[in-house]
């Protein structure tokens, strides 16, 4: 008796015939009845008869080939679709019951037929992982893949990524790559296995952005709860600010940099940025991964810093203008003395750190802490990894803007 078999299960006075499905619990058989319902039946109390073996291939259901054969059109730009896993094209894992990514880029075309006719597509799979399992090593693989795709002639790149850590990966690529074409991250907040998924509009808008004239790393996700437009965020200024909403991503400290209207498929930008072709393609993929992000909370034991003794870099998410408790300052000074670069960001997220205002701040500056301006803590973490591996003076790099992450003026209404 295996999943996929047609079975007859008797339990008390009720007999059910149907297809055996994988069960998530040991105590129950799960049978799909002819009407489509699944029902769990107490394994011990049930008498099972296998009527026919392997009626359905449960494992590969939903993956049937019938691949779309997309023809090449000389008049269309070429967009490289790079998949890292995540929910833009995912399906249900019937063993764990969880939603996981199982599709490659080809499947995305099948999942989102609306993409056809907008570009010629090149599919590529860099990873097939949930975004919480992402690592800096995958960021590097991804940066190299994007670089290769652009080198091979892609007019734009769309990276499909799980939303949980999309902002980290997109930030990291902003530092690692200099790009003459758009590199657009997108994903979906509501799984692709539901008719209401945001994957279709996000993918379509991302392709539109990838064929636009803005050559930087962008993040393209729903602008509101409606399926009417996607916001384009600068990768280094964006944050996932909601667990489940379609419009979870927000640009912090400014309005989104642009917008893709779904109805008329126009891409508009509200602020200047690098034009297509203005920059030569370059890659600097090295990262110093011994960097940690530490959020300070009241009364927190300074021993938390002991774990960071050998770290190359530490990003602190301090309170308010960029503070930690006074009794932390000596420990921080020791760290810096031992060669760790320590940079300060704020858990306020909105606004800029300024350690010149209060005594604690001045003491932190004296201890050698580097202010990261209004750089977001997550962005600062990716940036510090990159700066430690690529810049002779990482501290100086943290004070300047490399990829739009540190805004020169605080004008959040623009």
């Amino acid at each position: 008796m295996n999943p996929g078999d047609r079975v007859r299960v008797e339990r008390g006075s009720v007999a059910n015939e149907g297809v055996l499905m994988p069960s998530t619990t040991a105590d129950h058989l799960v049978v799909k009845l002819p009407g489509g319902y699944n029902v769990g039946i107490d394994r011990e109390a049930a008498a099972v008869e296998v009527l026919e073996r392997d009626v359905y291939d449960v494992e590969s259901a939903g993956e049937d080939a019938d691949a779309s054969t997309v023809e090449f059109d000389d008049d269309l730009p070429t967009v490289s679709l790079i998949s890292t896993g995540g929910t833009i094209a995912s399906t249900v894992d019937y063993r764990t019951g969880a939603v996981t990514a199982q599709f490659d880029a080809e499947d995305v075309l099948r999942a989102v037929p609306d993409l056809a006719g907008r570009a010629n597509y090149r599919g590529r799979v860099v990873a097939n992982i949930l975004s919480e399992n992402m690592t800096p090593a995958v960021w590097q693989d991804l940066a190299r893949a994007v670089h290769e795709e652009i080198e091979a002639g892609a007019d734009g790149v769309v990276v499909m990524h799980g939303t949980d850590t999309m902002q980290y990966t997109a930030s990291a690529l902003s530092f690692m790559l200099e790009t003459p074409v758009p590199v657009v991250f997108t994903g979906s907040q509501r799984s692709a296995d539901r008719p209401s998924s945001d994957n279709v509009m996000n993918a379509v808008c991302a392709v539109e952005a990838a064929t636009s004239d803005r050559a930087e790393v962008l993040l393209c996700m729903h602008a509101s709860s409606s399926d009417d437009a996607c916001a384009l965020h600068r990768a280094t200024r964006v944050r996932k600010n909601h667990t489940s909403r379609r419009d979870a991503f927000e640009t912090v400290g400014a309005k989104p940099i642009g917008r893709v209207d779904y109805d008329d498929e126009t891409v508009t930008f509200r602020r200047d940025g690098p034009e297509r072709g203005a920059t030569d393609l370059a890659i600097a993929p090295d990262l110093e991964t011994s960097v940690e992000l530490l959020k300070f909370t009241p009364g927190m034991n300074p021993a938390a810093l002991d774990y960071l003794d050998d770290a190359a870099g530490v990003v602190i998410e301090g309170t308010g203008l960029g503070h930690v408790a006074t009794d932390w300052i000596d420990r921080i000074e020791e760290l810096i003395g031992a060669g760790t670069t320590v940079t300060m960001t704020s858990q306020c997220l909105e606004g800029r750190v300024c350690d010149r205002v209060y005594d604690t701040g001045r003491d932190l500056l004296d201890a050698g802490v580097v202010e990261a301006g209004d750089t977001l803590p997550e962005t600062a973490t990716a940036k510090l990894m990159w700066a430690l591996a690529n810049r002779s003076d990482p501290a100086a790099a943290m004070r300047e803007s490399i990829a739009g992450e540190l805004q020169p003026r605080s004008v959040p209404w623009t």
């Binding site: 799909k32 029902v39 939903g62 969880a98 509501r190 008719p195 209401s196 379609r246």
Partner: protein, 622 residues
């Protein structure tokens, strides 16, 4: 029309009954199960839906057909809805109260409760669910109810979420209201054990009574919906959706049997004539100079006219299948499903501004002779093409007999085409909600309403009619509370049923009266703080100003505090004024003066107290 011999026709019918539950919160979120008016919406948003493959890798036919119509859905959200209804937050766990009520219902239907209930996603891409699916779980199997014509098996009991309410068609699609989405709903499916229209109605009534016996079902229009599955021996399974009124069920079954009988007859006739459906073609040229308003309008907007020749169909397109519904209406329904306004066919032409000459030219263009029929659609080019294909397809199935399909009930008891029958492929597991293991031993079996009626008669002395009215009425729980609080049962029943009905007829806004208003007023009477005669006025006052409590309403109505002494004084005054009459008639003047006394006291005093005082006062003078 004479009644058919249903047994000979092989009538097989089943019911699917959907009943909203009156729980405190929705099935998958903590929002109240409260209905709202569209104008109270606090925000709106819009979405598209895209069909996906199911767990078994198949696209559902019904889902695909729905999605062909690329529609934008607009949703109204309220201060009583949350992100779960907006499909912007995963659902919570199955609501405990809803599950308990479902288990109660399973018990009343003699069903076996499943060991483990799995919440499924039933694909629905018409926009009525923001997610694109309806969450539904199988709770019970294998039950039975009794009817006069024998037992009817109950196949399954489902606990599911109610869909969003349709507010209006918009230019781009449909507007829905989220207040209804997520209200717990039970769906009860009977076996196809029903053999006559009357039995269908009786089974529905029986199930309705059992549902109401739980005391936790919603009442009022739209809170219960009946679907009826009907087929006859050579016909096909037809699922009729959305029968609102119980007393329509027998008529719906009767008319559907008639439709299938007529369709079979049409099919026989078509077979005899060796009928065939030709290829659709563009006949715009025929109507280049037409004066037909419909066609002219379409052509002026850049539209085209498409035609399909129906060889051998002459006279049959106009055949009546149900009152006011012809075979041509069936073809038209399919055209409408694809966005067209409808069709014209040669059985009804010349008419609608289409001339005899145009009909002749039309027949000639598509090579149709006098024994043939032609159907046409005029609309924008794409719609006209889709619509005429749909018409051709439906005409083709007409040659074969009765198509299996889902139909929509009309107010007249007839039906119209809605969509293909849904397939089993439209289900996949709702992985956001873990399976639940229901424990049926937790729930108590409620008193059946039939038992309640008997109890009201034996215990409270209500007559059979009033007992039934109260027991089946929506104020039954309130009645029980009032009686528990010491209010006389007959009096409480009279107020809650007759008085309120009379007040409503008199234009009093009785809908604004809360349970607390009613209970409070009844208690004032029970505590002798208000005369029975003053109840109408107090309720009217409360309906005018629902912010008042009953005590304040008594004050406001000027009915408060009439002491026995005041009653005596008022009665004495009346007797004094009518001294002559009393002298002449003695006690004979009683009824005339009683009315005057009550008027003088303006209902402030209890009738019995007044009559005692009056009797005494008259006695003094004679």
């Amino acid at each position: 029309m004479s009644e058919y011999d249903y047994e000979a026709l092989g009538l097989v019918a089943g019911l699917e009954i959907h009943q909203q539950l009156d729980t405190a919160t929705k099935l998958f979120c903590a929002c109240p199960t409260e209905r709202r008016e569209p104008e109270n919406a606090v925000r709106t948003f819009s979405r598209y839906l895209h069909p996906t493959t199911s767990e078994l890798g198949e696209l559902d036919e019904a889902a695909v057909e729905e999605s062909r119509v690329d529609r934008e859905f607009e949703y109204l959200a309220f201060d009583t809805t949350c992100l779960v209804e907006e499909d912007d937050e995963p659902p919570g766990r199955v609501d405990d109260e809803a599950l308990d009520v479902a288990l109660q219902i399973a018990d009343l239907l003699d069903m076996t409760v499943v060991d483990q209930a799995h919440v499924m996603r039933k694909i629905v891409v018409d926009g009525s669910n923001t997610s694109g699916f309806q969450r539904s779980a199988l709770i019970g199997q294998d039950g039975q109810i009794e009817t006069d014509a024998g037992p009817v098996g109950v196949e399954d009991l489902l606990l599911e979420e109610e869909s969003a309410g349709r507010v209006a068609e918009t230019d781009a699609g449909v507007r829905y209201s989220l207040d209804r989405l997520g209200i717990p709903l039970v769906e009860i499916g009977t076996r196809p054990d029903i053999g006559t229209p009357e039995q269908a109605r009786e089974a529905a009534e029986r199930i309705g009574m059992l549902l109401r016996s739980t005391g936790t079902v919603k009442r009022g229009l739209g809170t219960i919906r009946q679907d009826v599955n009907v087929s006859i021996a050579d016909g096909a399974r037809v699922e009729i959706k959305g029968v609102q009124a119980l007393d329509q069920i027998d008529e719906i079954v009767r008319l559907e049997v008639r439709r299938q009988v007529e369709l079979l007859d049409v099919a026989d006739e078509l077979a005899e004539r060796d009928a065939a459906v030709g290829s659709p073609q563009d006949v715009t040229d025929v109507f280049a100079d037409t004066d037909s308003g419909v066609i002219r309008g379409a052509l002026d907007d850049g539209g085209r006219v498409q035609a399909v020749p129906l060889y051998g169909f002459d006279g049959l397109v106009g055949r009546e299948l149900q009152p006011d519904r012809r075979f041509g209406t069936e073809l038209s329904d399919h055209a409408k499903r694809h966005g067209a306004g409808g069709i014209f066919h040669t059985d009804e032409l010349p008419a609608y501004g289409v001339t005899e000459a145009e009909v002749g030219a039309l027949r000639e263009t598509v090579d149709a002779g006098p024994e043939d029929a032609v159907a046409i659609v005029a609309d924008d080019p794409e719609t006209a093409e889709l619509a005429i294909d749909a018409v051709a397809e439906r005409a083709q199935t007409g040659i074969e007999g009765v198509p299996e399909e889902t139909r929509d009930a009309t107010d007249e008891g007839t039906t119209r085409y809605l969509r293909p029958l849904p397939g089993a492929a439209r289900m996949y597991p709702e992985t956001d909600v873990p399976p639940v293991e229901p424990d049926p031993s937790d729930v108590e079996r409620p008193e059946l309403l039939t038992e309640t009626v008997e109890r009201y008669q034996s215990e409270y002395g209500l007559d059979a009619g009033l007992a039934e009215q109260v027991a089946y009425g929506r104020r039954m729980p309130l009645f029980e509370r009032a009686v528990d609080a010491g209010v006389d049962a007959t009096f409480a029943a009279g107020v809650l049923e007759s008085t309120l009905t009379e007040l409503r007829r008199d234009g009093v806004a009785v809908d604004r009266l809360t349970d607390e208003h009613l209970l409070g007023t009844l208690r004032l009477v029970a505590d002798d703080d208000l005369a029975k005669e003053g109840v109408d006025e107090v309720l009217e006052t409360l309906a005018d100003d629902p912010d008042l409590d009953p005590e304040a309403a008594v004050e406001a109505a000027g009915l408060a505090g009439v002491s026995e002494d005041e009653v005596r004084d008022a009665v004495a005054d009346v007797v004094e004024r009518n001294a002559d009459q009393v002298e002449q008639e003695g006690m004979g003047a009683f009824s005339a003066l009683m009315g005057e006394c009550m008027g003088a006291l303006r209902g402030k005093a209890d009738g019995e107290v007044v009559s005692d005082a009056l009797r005494e006062e008259i006695g003094k003078r004679t």
